[in-house]
């Protein structure tokens, strides 16, 4: 009897000291799930993070993620999943460095974690060596990405469909590794805000002075029009035109009218070729300079110190912009010369400027 008792005692002691893993079931810490969309019935990625006080370092240490009924797992497979984890000993998962990116496969191999779904449960099974890239140490942070945000070994192509009803839902994490915990997510009827704004079409066009004049012309000197109608012996700005638009193709500005006329007499328009001032010879022409915006003076009115007045092309383009333009100010200068035989009289001309936006 004593022998039997001794044997039993020895067996008991041996069993007591036999090296077995002690499972410490603990609550997972720092758990979160970030969705790419919280809208009902919408495909969404999930980024699940948690800290495991126990760790997972043996081949039997499965990790399960259970989604509530109503979420569509859509046959998500290992190609749509990333599993990464940090070193152990973390005090939180605010900004851990995920130093270990595990390889996943449909089933666990010597070095790859297995991933499978059954109903609403996803199961991650450790490699058969229990380690994989690295054992998940106690207090390591884990990051599990589900959906197109999984990029290890290729980008995932399957996302999870959100529940069709707006409410809070609990995703449960558990498995044989011993730790467990829940994460609450919100599904909304709409998690988006649509913002609208209208920008109207605009065209700005102003003429600074509608009445200009040369004063009295002379065959011996050139004259330039001024806003006070007295004229000037030197080139000067008679008035300005301002044009701007938000039209996608800018604008076009044309001039129309006639040369200086008195009864049946006229002062010859310079024509389509820009020409410099020649006192003693009849000339009526204009030139422009542009500033601001992206508008530009068109030929033949853009040449420096030369003037043109192409009545043959009227209404003739004097300036344009090919894109939306802030206001461009065109400085317009007018030239008049007469010959010694130019008939006396009060000559006038009426010029019409038109700006057209090109939307």
């Amino acid at each position: 009897m004593q022998k039997v008792t001794s044997v039993l005692l020895i067996v008991a002691v041996v069993v007591f000291f036999y090296p077995t893993k002690t499972v410490y079931a603990a609550a997972l810490l720092n758990k979160s799930d970030t969705l790419s969309s919280q809208k009902i019935s919408t495909l969404s990625n999930h980024t699940i993070v948690f800290r495991t006080p126990t760790g997972a370092a043996e081949s039997g240490d499965t990790i399960t993620i259970t989604f509530p009924a109503g979420f569509g797992l859509n046959n998500i497979d290992f190609g749509d999943v990333d599993l990464a984890h940090s070193a152990g000993g973390q005090s939180n998962c605010t900004a851990p460095t995920y130093t270990n990116d595990e390889t996943l496969a449909a089933s666990a191999t010597g070095s790859a974690w297995g991933f499978a779904t059954s109903s609403q449960v996803m199961t991650l099974t450790p490699p058969t060596d229990g380690v994989g890239a690295a054992a998940i140490a106690a207090n390591a942070c884990l990051q599990i990405q589900l959906g197109t945000n999984a990029t290890t070994g290729g980008t995932g192509d399957t996302q999870i469909t959100n529940h069709g009803s707006a409410a809070s839902y609990t995703i449960s994490i558990g498995g044989n590794f011993g730790d467990s915990g829940d994460i609450v997510i919100n599904i909304l009827n709409d998690d988006q805000v649509s913002v609208s704004a209208t920008v109207d079409e605009t065209l700005t066009f102003t003429i600074s002075d509608n009445s200009i004049g040369f004063g009295t012309l002379s065959a011996s000197d050139d004259f330039f029009a001024t806003g006070d109608t007295n004229g000037s012996a030197t080139e000067t700005e008679a008035h300005t035109l301002v044009v701007g638009t938000n039209a996608a193709n800018g604008y076009t500005m044309t001039v129309n009218g006639n040369t200086l006329t008195f009864g049946g007499s006229t002062i010859d328009a310079i024509g389509s070729s820009a020409a410099s001032s020649t006192p003693g010879t009849e000339q009526f022409g204009l030139r422009m300079e542009a500033s601001g915006g992206v508008g530009a003076v068109s030929a033949p009115y853009a040449a420096p110190a030369s003037f043109a007045f192409d009545t043959g092309a009227f209404p003739d383009e004097v300036a344009a912009a090919t894109a939306p333009s802030a206001n461009t100010t065109y400085s317009v200068r007018y030239l008049a010369n007469i010959g010694s035989n130019t008939e006396a009289g009060a000559y006038t001309a009426t010029l019409t400027y038109v700006a057209v936006a090109n939307f």
């Binding site: 000291f17 805000v193 704004a197 209208t198 920008v199 938000n246 039209a247 996608a248």
Partner: protein
């Protein structure tokens, strides 16, 4: 029998292995620093044009210890008159007016306040016209680590005797009443004209005391010794050259029972030293022999201190005591006990109006503090002087900036003295000759407490704790609402803290952001039995019981842990045992969730009982209360309007989105987002999407910098305000301008630090501006708001 032995052996083996398998905690060595805010003050020296003294005020204002001194001008001695037996408990001795008795005041709060004068009538006689007093504390003598007596020598002018008495600080018992050291017919002692008493305890325990005056019709300084703790005194054995009644002497114990006497000859105007050997008598020649410049007003200008650890003595004196001039230097000399030689250190001051000095030593570091009085350059130094101290951390080679101790201006301040040597507090006292007041202030609080390590445990009805709630120095979460729990906390210290050395208390605060060592955002309050985090009253142990150590207790850098007690109420102290320098005290706080919000984090800190902080906070314990009843964590999130609009934009005016899509010319909330959670770490809200787009055209997003609205410039941005709960808007969306940081998308726009489940409503304001060239069209944007809770 063998069967039972096997059983016992097996069981013991099991316990042994179990115990040896307990986890071992590791801790991180944390550096410590001392942070003291000081106010800088510049004081112009009128006598030296363009020369400014830059002083600092000490940590606290001066304290009036006694308002009614007998006659300040007669009370000086270079020997100490103040003793601190711990950081908090000190005694200051003086001659009180009225019945003119030697008296003392006591502080129990580190010199912040002092009790009423306690006269020494029963020991020193009644109304004897007492003059100066000198003291020596047992533990100032090398080798004495447990003595509790303060030895007192005093002289009076009525019976012309030199008296001895002692005060046992263990119970404040006055001993050896009315013991006459010397006093014979023909003795004439004149307080205003004669010198001061002095006393010390030699390393062999004998007492040496004396005074300068006229004794037995002879003008001299006398020295007597007692071998029976002051009960009886022998004859005069003073040196023959001590023949002036106005001289001053200070004694120090040297090795082998020898005595070092520092002697100021008021007639020759010199300061010199001699060594007395109890076997062979006085040494052959005086050392040091420094010449002084006399003053008719301020005869005594010096003081010295003994480093008990090394046996070295440091002497500071003003080498000229001329008033209202700038010719005085404060010299510092070191007596090296091993060689018994003097060497000069760097002068503390040169060419100033400093006219008195005293030395005190930090027992922990050996740092030297010289306290001195200095005129302010006015017409008469007696009308305007201040008290300063300077510190040297390199044995007197260099000195720090002066720090002012007194806080009352335009007084005639005299006779700075200190408690000479301490591992906990150095304290200076000085006389205000204007009002015959005694003032004092801490020169240096030498105990540096560090909140060093912690661990949370489950509660247990005993002085031991339950199972661990988390790792050391790691935040923990309670399992259930209303849970009791234990906090075991280590306070590391420099400086030896005697039993019950300092009163401390535990405070808590709801976390704001993080439980940070700067307490940013938290409002701490004392833990009581009624606060939401409250002390928990366990049935069996009582507040103040000695704690029972636990194998899982926190540790700190391998330091020795001195277990203290179990606490159920503030205040607390190290009532179990003293804490030697460099070790840690451990306390066990019994606490509970007393109606705190669910899933809410609380921070803990220790402060002194006067609400002043510890010197260093390396860790801040954090506990999070359990989730709301039912245990199910919650997360709530809603968007008030999913469709907003600006209407028609203009390059001439800013436009704000509205819920009716028409927009507004003035800033308005377009919609709100409301969020709450019980998740212990709160939530964050993210924004994703794009700026306003029409075909290939877009309106520029403002970006990651908060920017004001600028009409005429393309801008699309967002700003958010928060109300309710403790959720906060994140940068850059929180300022008065707008931002839209697409480069950071999904970008955090708001967060909540805890799980108090209090809803926060965020008001979102959107701005859009266009330029003159912004393409026409119907622009739109889709913004996605995501909330993530961390449980």
């Amino acid at each position: 029998m063998r069967f039972f032995i096997r059983h016992i052996f097996a069981i013991l083996l099991c316990f042994g292995i179990i115990l040896s398998g307990f986890p071992v905690d590791f801790s991180v060595v944390l550096s410590r620093g001392r942070i003291v805010d000081r106010v800088y003050l510049a004081m112009q020296n009128d006598l030296v044009i363009d020369n400014f003294y830059f002083g600092q005020y000490a940590e606290a204002a001066q304290v009036q210890i006694e308002p009614n001194l007998f006659d300040a001008t007669d009370e000086y001695s270079p020997s100490p008159n103040v003793v601190f037996i711990s950081d908090q408990v000190g005694y200051a001795f003086y001659v009180d007016t009225g019945v003119d008795n030697v008296s003392y005041s006591k502080t129990t709060d580190g010199g912040t306040s002092w009790g009423a004068d306690v006269d020494m009538l029963s020991t020193m006689g009644t109304d004897l016209n007492w003059a100066a007093v000198a003291v020596w504390y047992d533990q100032w003598t090398p080798g004495d680590t447990s003595g509790t007596l303060i030895h007192i020598a005093a002289v009076n002018a009525t019976d012309d005797d030199v008296y001895y008495a002692s005060l046992d600080t263990n119970g404040d018992v006055r001993l050896n009443p009315n013991t006459v050291i010397t006093g014979t017919t023909g003795t004439v002692f004149t307080p205003a004209g004669d010198g001061s008493p002095f006393i010390t305890k030699a390393t062999d325990g004998d007492l040496f005391a004396g005074a300068c005056g006229t004794f037995s019709s002879v003008v001299q300084c006398v020295m007597h010794t007692s071998t029976d703790v002051g009960a009886n005194w022998g004859g005069d054995i003073g040196h023959s050259s001590w023949n002036d009644d106005d001289d001053s002497i200070q004694f120090f114990p040297l090795s082998g029972g020898d005595i070092l006497a520092i002697f100021q000859d008021d007639t020759a105007n010199t300061i010199s030293t001699r060594v007395y050997d109890q076997s062979t008598g006085w040494d052959g020649s005086a050392l040091l022999n420094r010449a002084l410049t006399d003053s008719a007003t301020y005869d005594i200008s010096w003081g010295a201190a003994l480093n008990k650890s090394t046996g070295n003595v440091y002497l500071a004196f003003s080498n000229a005591i001329a008033l209202d001039s700038t010719t005085n230097d404060i010299e510092v000399w070191k007596y090296t006990e091993s060689s018994r030689t003097w060497g000069q250190k760097t002068n503390v001051l040169n060419d100033t109006e400093a006219y008195q000095a005293s030395v005190s030593l930090d027992a922990n570091t050996g740092d030297i503090y010289v306290t001195y009085a200095q005129g302010n350059g006015g017409a008469d130094v007696a009308d305007d002087s201040d008290i300063f101290y300077v510190k040297s951390t390199d044995d007197g080679s260099n000195w720090g900036s002066p720090i002012q101790l007194n806080s009352t201006a335009n007084l005639d301040l005299w006779f700075v003295r200190t408690n000479m040597y301490s591992d906990s507090r150095l304290y200076s006292v000085w006389y205000d000759n204007t009002g015959n007041d005694l003032y004092g202030e801490t020169v240096a609080d030498l105990w540096a407490w560090e909140q060093a390590a912690y661990r949370f445990f489950n509660n247990a009805n005993g002085t031991d704790v339950g199972s661990v709630l988390g790792n050391q120095d790691t935040a923990a979460t309670l399992a259930s609402t209303g849970d009791a729990f234990r906090l075991r906390l280590l306070l590391h210290n420099t400086g030896q803290i005697p039993i019950s050395g300092e009163n401390l208390k535990l405070q808590f605060a709801e976390r704001s952001g993080t439980c940070d060592t700067g307490f940013s955002g938290e409002s701490y309050a004392d833990v009581t039995g009624a606060t939401v985090i409250a002390y928990n009253n366990n049935a069996t142990p009582a507040d103040g019981d000695n704690l029972t150590a636990n194998a899982n207790d926190p540790t700190h850098s391998g330091h020795t842990i001195v277990n203290q007690d179990y606490e159920e109420a503030n205040n607390f102290t190290n009532s179990v045992a003293l804490i030697p320098s460099g070790q840690d005290g451990k306390w066990d706080f019994s606490l509970k969730d007393n109606g705190a919000s669910a899933s809410t984090a609380y921070c803990f800190r220790i402060v002194k009982s006067d609400d002043s902080g510890l010197d260093v906070y390396s860790i801040i314990p954090q506990i999070t209360t359990a989730a709301a009843a039912g245990g199910a964590p919650t997360l709530s999130f809603s968007i008030s309007d999913n469709s907003i609009g600006f209407g028609t934009l203009s390059s001439g005016a800013e436009r704000y989105a509205t819920g009716d899509l028409t927009g507004s010319a003035s800033e308005v909330a377009a919609h709100t987002i409301t969020a709450s959670t019980t998740a212990s770490s709160g939530y964050s809200i993210l924004l994703n999407g794009s700026t306003l787009i029409y075909g290939a055209s877009n309106i520029d997003a403002i970006g990651g910098t908060n920017t004001t609205s600028t009409p005429g410039t393309e801008q699309f941005g967002l700003r958010i305000t928060a109300s309710g709960g403790n959720g906060t808007v994140s940068v850059p969306y929180v300022a008065s301008g707008f931002a839209f940081d697409t480069g950071a998308f999904p970008d955090q726009i708001a967060s909540d630090p805890d799980g108090d489940n209090n809803a926060t409503t965020y008001s979102l304001r959107y701005v859009a501006n266009i330029s003159a060239t912004t393409g026409a069209g119907n622009y739109s944007s889709t913004l996605t708001y995501i909330i993530t809770a961390t449980f």
